[in-house]
């Protein structure tokens, strides 16, 4: 049985300047039995990016609602997602034109999944992303953040079909999470780059491991409320960006429990020290073996 929740919170950097949340999300359980989730992050400097983000998720979900049937196979769904992305792009362009604005004032990212409780089909554009928790208990990044050549600017939805990534994952997933970059970047701290486990497991499992969520259709609202309180609390006070997570859980499945080390908090002090030794070798008078 599929349960889902979604949260979008205005970042303190926007709230302080009287700004609105430039993130948007939408999740629906469709009559065909599959759930659709979409998240979008309006580009900070774009004046109407909040409008664009909302329009993008609404248009995409509406398109999928119209197209998906019980018999839709993965290839069908990829086509529907591609059409949905094109529709979202056109809707945003039309809105810009209607208001006499430059399309750049409506820049947004867009990530989406169609998940029926096992495999998933997804679309992705921008610097947020999608993570799946397999039934085997492994957290798998499904997408790669898209940034421009400068490493800072985002590749927005209007970059077009040649930039959108639309694909399917045949693994058996117990749950799937979509996030905009305010949260996504926390899921993959750079100190874990190159490690066997790249994802920050103790953090992400709070959002999508049903052993912790204990989510059912009856209690999903309180599950969501707890996550929302966490996201808006002290623990993430340093994240000033808008925060969005959208999670779909197959509550009929509990992922396999892995060895305890998989869930352990990484040794951040040691990882930071390793990074420091690479960044400031001149400050260390005791080069380690092999350095």
């Amino acid at each position: 049985m599929l349960c889902f929740y979604g949260i979008s919170l205005t970042g303190t950097s926007h709230a302080k300047s009287g700004g609105v949340c430039q993130d948007a999300h939408q999740i629906e359980l469709l009559p065909c039995g599959r759930a659709v989730a979409a998240v979008a992050d309006g580009v900070g400097s774009a004046k109407h990016s909040d409008v664009a983000a909302k329009l993008a998720v609404e248009t995409l979900v509406a398109a999928l609602r119209e197209s998906l049937t019980k018999d839709s196979c993965a290839e069908d769904i990829k086509r529907y997602i591609a059409s949905g992305y094109a529709a979202a792009e056109q809707a945003v362009e039309a809105e810009a034109e209607r208001n006499g604005d430059s399309i750049t004032e409506y820049d947004t990212t867009l990530s989406a999944v169609v998940y029926g409780g096992k495999g998933l089909v997804y679309g992705h554009s921008g610097d947020g992303g999608i993570v799946g928790l397999t039934c085997d208990g492994e957290y798998v990044p499904v997408t790669t953040p898209q940034k421009a050549a400068d490493g800072i600017c985002v590749v927005p939805l209007r970059a077009g079909a040649s930039s959108w990534v639309i694909d399917s994952c045949e693994s058996d997933f117990a749950s799937v999470l979509l996030a905009t970059d305010g949260i996504y970047d926390l899921l993959f701290p750079y100190l874990l780059k190159g490690r066997k486990t790249r994802v920050y497991v103790p953090f992400i499992r709070y959002f999508m491991d049903n052993e912790i969520l204990a989510a059912t259709p009856k209690n999903i609202q309180s599950v969501k409320a707890a996550r929302e309180a966490f996201l808006s609390g002290e623990a993430l006070a340093g994240v000033t960006d808008d925060k969005t997570v959208a999670v779909i859980v197959n509550s009929s499945v509990l992922p396999r429990r892995r060895e305890s080390g998989y869930y352990a908090e990484p040794d951040w002090a040691a990882l930071q020290e390793e990074w420091n030794r690479k960044a400031y070798p001149h400050l260390y008078s005791d080069p380690r073996e092999g350095e």
Binding site: C153, D185, L186, P189, Y190, K193, A235, L236, T240, K278
Partner: protein
């Protein structure tokens, strides 16, 4: 060991973006005396003041390059809180072009390094202080500054030039649109401004344009389209 309180995780992962800043300093003969003494004092105070900010401590990496007869790295990129006290001496000519090229090489290399480790980074700064005209060729350096500042939608570098009494205004205005002039040899105000700017950038999001504060009273912007 899991760090949770009643099942709620403690988010302990450091994920600090970094800001590389090169202080590019004219230590030619004409800077001898009050100017170099003022500069040494201000830089050491800058370190102390900026290090008080918790985020700047973790995010700001400072390198120091001096140029006189040639350009030399005085200090490699170092966390601001771990900068050693400096005691620059002034003598010789003004190899400004060589200094600028060295500084640009350093910030580009530094940002490449951050990228290789997946470390997000802010647009690097080069902050040049000079009291004279270059004694070497700065054409190539000027071209490089323009190239780097024009890359992408927001540029890959911010180059500031601060002229002290005797500086060559025409040269500095050819190098960058960010030219400031100091009316005396009291550098403390401008370095306070730098410190506040570093802190403001440290708390911002990568890619966000940060509004910098007002210059101190003894400094003024040289008109440009800045």
């Amino acid at each position: 060991m899991n760090q949770t309180i009643n099942g709620v995780p403690k988010v302990a992962a450091p994920n600090e973006p970094h800001l590389a800043c090169v202080l590019l300093l004219d230590t030619s003969g004409s800077m001898d005396g009050e100017a170099i003494a003022g500069l040494n004092k201000a830089i050491n105070e800058f370190k102390t003041k900026t290090s008080l900010d918790e985020l700047a401590q973790k995010r700001v990496d400072i390198a120091i390059v001096e140029f006189n007869d040639s350009a030399r790295v005085v200090q490699k990129f170092t966390p601001i809180s771990r900068m050693e006290a400096i005691q620059l001496q002034a003598s010789g000519c003004t190899a400004m072009g060589e200094g600028i090229n060295l500084a640009i090489d350093m910030v580009k290399e530094r940002n490449k390094f951050y990228a290789s480790l997946g470390t997000p980074c802010f647009k690097p700064w080069i902050f040049m202080i000079t009291d004279g005209a270059p004694t070497d060729d700065v054409e190539a350096a000027a071209k490089r500054i323009q190239e780097e500042e024009s890359k992408g939608s927001h540029g890959k570098l911010k180059f500031f030039a601060l002229g002290v009494a005797g500086y060559d205004k025409e040269t500095l205005c050819k190098l960058t649109k960010r030219v400031m002039a100091l009316e005396d040899t009291d550098f403390s105000g401008i370095f306070n401004w730098m410190s506040e700017s570093m802190v403001a950038i440290s708390v911002s999001r990568v890619g966000e344009e940060v509004r910098l504060g007002d210059l101190p009273e003894n400094a003024r912007i040289i008109p440009s389209d800045w």
